[in-house]
């Protein structure tokens, strides 16, 4: 065993590089800036590009242009930057532009506290786009997740041609931790599927067995069209409502149908437990400590840690929670993902504990919630 010692943000950057990312653009914002710093060291000496945009809108715009020219791209920001990305995110969703967006969440609302953590953007990442079509959101618990989930994020962005968020948190991103890089089981790298060179190219033509259109980069032999307007298969604006409906349906199902394949999670099932804690992100660490103590004290409790939040892993949540009498959701906000859990739990009681004061939720607080459960 040989440990490296680094920040979660550094692990995200190294993983992006490992996944083949050679284009990064971002605007400085605490607590995401160290991703920009690391990418600036990694990419330019290797022929890649790392750019500091004049603002967040430009940064993600650069990424969308470079992605359409065939590069694997990433940007990183925090809540205030996600607000500015919003219109570009809608564009990337609707026009199927692969991009990895790291949201190192900090305490909001608004400017909030630059150096305090929270998980306050969980619904915002899902719904902060016009049109409401789905995105993928992965949530790291620790530095190892920062590395592995970032690699998965690139694979998913390539495969589904959509924005994939890493919903980090200041508490994971700016905490330095040990990581044994040589022991990681890394996912195989996926690249976007290219359309054949020898047949006429339709930029948004998908098939029943692959709902993601095959790609050709801008600058290819085939002329490539990209547009933010409602478009037909040929990438020209359309008013044909049948075509529009089919495309909207495809944008929705291509992500939702894939959900079972990228439902990342961890579980700790305690024999005899009648309560299941469901949580995610850095809070999962306190939850695990609380669960260990409770189990040792003869009060068994089980734990489900979600690492894919969107699309909602409905099947997983239903199956895992079925044997329990009640569910407890713990999150670093005033109650966001608990909405999804409640929706999936039928008559089962769902307790909630949320806190958004800039501090980590402690194991003791979680124990208290459960003991009073």
């Amino acid at each position: 065993m040989a440990f490296s010692f680094m920040e979660g943000n550094e692990a995200i950057s190294w993983a992006a590089y490992k996944a083949g990312c050679r284009f990064f653009a971002g605007y400085p914002i605490t607590p995401a800036t160290t991703i920009f710093n690391t990418m600036l060291k990694l990419l330019p000496p290797d022929g890649g590009i790392c750019i500091q945009g004049e603002d967040e809108i430009a940064s993600i715009g650069f990424c969308l242009g470079a992605s359409m020219a065939g590069m694997k791209v990433m940007t990183a920001t925090s809540g205030p930057g996600i607000s500015l990305y919003s219109e570009q995110i809608s564009f990337a969703i609707g026009s199927e532009i692969p991009i990895v967006i790291v949201n190192v969440q900090r305490l909001g609302p608004s400017t909030g506290s630059a150096t305090k953590g929270a998980d306050g953007d969980i619904q915002f990442m899902r719904w902060g786009n016009s049109g409401g079509q789905p995105v993928i959101v992965l949530v790291p618990v620790d530095i190892k997740d920062c590395y592995i989930l970032t690699m998965h994020a690139f694979n998913l962005a390539e495969e589904f041609r959509c924005p994939v968020f890493i919903a980090a948190n200041k508490e994971v991103s700016m905490t330095r931790e040990t990581i044994d890089l040589s022991s990681l089981t890394l996912p195989k790298i996926t690249n976007r599927k290219y359309a054949a060179d020898d047949t006429p190219f339709q930029p948004f033509a998908a098939s029943a067995d692959c709902l993601t259109p095959a790609f050709q980069p801008i600058g290819a032999k085939h002329l490539v069209r990209q547009t933010s307007s409602t478009h037909g298969l040929d990438g020209y604006i359309t008013t044909d409502s049948e075509l529009i409906a089919a495309n909207q349906e495809r944008l929705n199902t291509k992500i939702k149908n894939g959900a079972d394949r990228f439902t990342f999670y961890e579980e700790f099932m305690a024999p005899g437990a009648d309560t299941l804690i469901i949580t995610y992100g850095v809070t999962a660490r306190a939850a695990q400590v609380a669960v260990n103590t409770l189990c040792q004290n003869g009060h068994p409790v089980s734990l489900l840690v979600l690492k894919t939040l969107w699309p909602v892993p409905s099947r997983l949540i239903k199956t895992k929670s079925a044997p329990f009498k009640q569910i407890a959701v713990i999150e670093m906000n005033m109650g966001q993902y608990v909405r999804e859990i409640k929706r999936l739990s039928g008559d089962k009681p769902v307790k909630f504990h949320g806190c958004m004061n800039g501090d980590l939720i402690t194991p003791a607080q979680i124990r208290e919630v459960l003991i009073n459960a």
Binding site: M1, F3, G61, V289
Partner: protein
Amino acid sequence: MPSFLNAKRPPVFCPGCSHSQVVNALDKTFQNMGLAGEQIVIVSDIGCSGLFDTFFNTHAFHGLHGRALTYAAGIKFARPDLHVIVTMGDGGLGIGGAHVLSTCRRNLDLTLLVLNNFNYGMTGGQCSATTPEEARVGSGFLNRLEKPIDACQVMGIAGAGYVTRASAYTKTLPATLEAAIRFDGFAAVDIHGVCTGRYTKQNKLTPKTIKASLEEMPSLESYSALNARKEYGRHYRETASQLKPVASPHHIETQFEPPRTDDGRSCQKSDFLEEKPDFSGRQEVVIMGSAGQRIITAGEILCLAGITAGQHASQKNDYPITVLRGHSVSELILSEEKIGYTGIETPCAVIALAQEGVNRRRAMFGHLPPETLVIKNKDVDIPSCAGKIVETDFKADRIKSQDWALAALALLAHRNMVISMDMLEAALKIRFKGKVLENVLTLVTLYRTIL
């Protein structure tokens, strides 16, 4: 040379709209230059000028309002060989102002055509950044209160090496566009034209008046010399090629056993037994100081020392956004198991070096058990606590303030608490090199003799 115009999609502008003239001039330009469609990308903005990409058999990218220059830059970074042409109205010029200025400063080899018709055609003729104060537009009296900008002067001041104005009706437009495209850097052409659908319903503007007004506008001659410099993309690649690749993350091999107490237990606390102050398995250390005391570096060294004994480590730092002033607190955990909760619950050592840091963590002291070692430097006031207090006077020991935290680590190591002296020295060798390493090793050794 055949036309680049898409026969299936003829221009759909209002009758008399000058955008048609520009479409034809651009087609002519591509032909004159002998380009192929796949060498060209038209990046179009929003509004009537946003339709441009659909009329040409070239690559096309139509995005959001005001952001065309951002996509164009991304494409050009990725594919420096492509000719990237941006079409944008005076609306895009206003809403995308920050991008216009930055593009001028950056000097990436893009060509911007501003289709300037002094109003927002598509949304009903509202005023834009170039609407004259005396014009009658769809924004009521509002344009009378604002001064229009001269796009070329703004762009020239912002650093564009090639800025020029032209009438949409001039016969020489293809030659002007060609010169702009051939310019090695960012080039912008402010093309004045007529919006028959909206603007000229209430305002007099004709090819003749455009020509006359262009002639009266200030000269742009000085900007080409003033802003002459290297093209950004090439400059970037040249500079980047001189940079050394970054080394892979450092791996630290396990060399030591962590320190043990007399009864053989490691003096650590477990994640699994958080209620008892029994430091087996997990040890928490908090260093409280002020900016400039290298608190965070010391925290890192403590972690590296733990890692040399095969331990998991975590470090959370707390300091204000401003530098060189205020508190600096580092929270460290070393553990034989994977670290769960990264917050501090029961530290086995607290190092209090400056009042700012202590004030930041006052609440912690009340909960300290008698087993906690509190290293407190002279003149630092700490709230009353149950921990074992060891008072130091680093100043009297002639140690500089920026080395106090390191000296405190040496004190811990000397007591074989949390880390051993071997672990500390190994960590210093990982973290520092050359003269600095010599200095810190001397400090640690010297301090040991003081103790």
